[in-house]
Amino acid sequence: MTFRTPRIAPSEITPPEVFFNRRTLLAGALAAGASSLLPAAETAPSGAKLQYTRNAQYSVSEAPNKYEEITGYNNYYEFGTDKEDPKANSGSFRPTPWSVAVGGEAGVKGTFTLEDILKPHPLEERIYRFRCVEAWSMVIPWVGFPLSALIERFKPTAKAKYVEFTTLYDPHRMPGQRERVLAWPYVEGLRMDEAMHPLALMVVGLYGQTLPNQDGAPLRLIVPWKYGFKSIKAIVKINFTEKQPNTTWNLSAPQEYGFYANVNPQVDHPRWSQATERHIGAAFLAARRPTLPFNGYAEQVAGLYKGMDLRRYY
């Protein structure tokens, strides 16, 4: 499968070989303790190195954003509402030990340690486009495994129509939760067929290493055809339900944030246009680009929504 990504200047595309060679080099240099020899070293990931294979089939050809862009500019209200807050306020967060409670309409339920969750799944790297509901975008090399493979292990029953995810609630460790800007804990959800789609990814790493705290360590979801807020972070609960889950942003402003939240240039947010986006890290005066239906993944996912009025189910 190939992704058509229009209007990307050829000069902006790093050939994967170059990108990976540079990465391998960097990792080697770091291992040798010679990071200071490389000017780019300060942008190097700081987590533990992961074993993974690269999934080219599910990767876009655009150049990924810089590590410091991905880790220094994002929304994660559990650590504060400014986009610099997650990095600034998550340094002392310890994502260990970690467990995930699985419940609801499933044959296999219970509390699993993170190790239990991860053990059977080979990791792969996928370079995905990321589109925030605030009309900015990035390209991000995630490391993870298909959500579908995880879900299958829990043997959801015939009644399971939706899967609901919950973020850790711990105001001591997540200072942003001391303010009631959202109804904590953060909850997100997918329809079962969306969750089983091969593009839906459980993510544990970024740039080949374990996820930094500010990007949702130790376990997060990535649904690349939906606005970023659907891609819930620091997951501690997975629940299979018959009814559509009440998701956090949808509850906070139902007329602005729908349950589906598929990237859709034709349906504006009531307060801003979704027709275009600004690409973070792009060249001066060349950052604004047309937003693509389903964030460029229409060919793969549009079928999930056949017959649905996407203006109504935004």
Partner: protein, 213 residues
């Protein structure tokens, strides 16, 4: 130096330089001087900082009269025009960043935004209303317009209200900061309202002649 000279030779130049500090700091960020930076999204950073600075100058302008009255510093009025013009200056920069760096000069989107997005409509109204105030800020215009000058310049109350309203509406969720600004504007405008009422009830109603600033 008498008070007049102190204001002219000392305070005004100092306030002028201090008012340029936010711009200077953002320029340092843009060029990476003195370790300053604009973060991963420099355009939003500039847009937000200029917007915030513009609003701060609007509030400073509105603060002059109450401080002058309450602290008994009649000459403070001499700083007001400069603060107001800096508010205009930063609104223009804010708008320019939006149009040039954010929209990349896409005028179609600009007009669509002004027409369709209430927070932009309101901000734009604020910008337009500031223009006649800036144009009539000279001594000559003040003299020429006489009593009407003061009436015209009461528009600043409307502009400040539009400014905080615009701020409040563009926030995604965390409205704590805009609410603080709403509170400050409420106090500043409330002060005028109370004074006006007190004056109206205490007979005379003698109109004040606009003062040279």
């Amino acid at each position: 130096m008498n008070v007049e000279q102190r204001y002219r030779r000392l305070y005004k130049p100092l306030v002028f330089l201090a008012s340029l500090a936010p711009l200077a700091w953002l320029l340092c960020g843009a060029f990476g001087w003195f370790g300053a930076g604009l973060g991963a999204d420099p355009v939003k950073k500039l847009e937000h900082e200029f917007g915030k600075t513009a609003l701060n100058f609007l509030l400073l302008t509105l603060l002059v009269t109450p401080v002058r009255n309450l602290a008994g510093l009649p000459h403070l009025l001499r700083l007001r025009r400069m603060l107001g013009l800096f508010a205009f200056f930063y609104v223009v920069l804010h708008f320019t960043v939006y149009l040039v760096l954010d929209l990349e000069l896409n005028f179609g989107t600009l007009f669509a935004d002004i027409a369709k997005r209430p927070y932009i409509t309101i901000g734009f109204a604020g910008l337009l209303l500031l223009i006649p105030l800036a144009v009539t800020s000279t001594n000559r215009m003040m003299r020429r317009l006489g009593r009407r000058w003061q009436k015209l310049h009461r528009l600043i109350y409307v502009i400040a209200a539009l400014g905080v309203w615009h701020f409040y509406w563009q926030v995604k969720r965390d409205v704590r900061e805009p609410l603080i600004y709403v509170g400050i504007v409420a106090v500043l405008l409330g002060y005028r309202w109370v004074r006006a009422r007190a004056k109206a009830t205490s007979s005379s109603g003698s109109a004040t002649v606009p003062e040279r600033t």
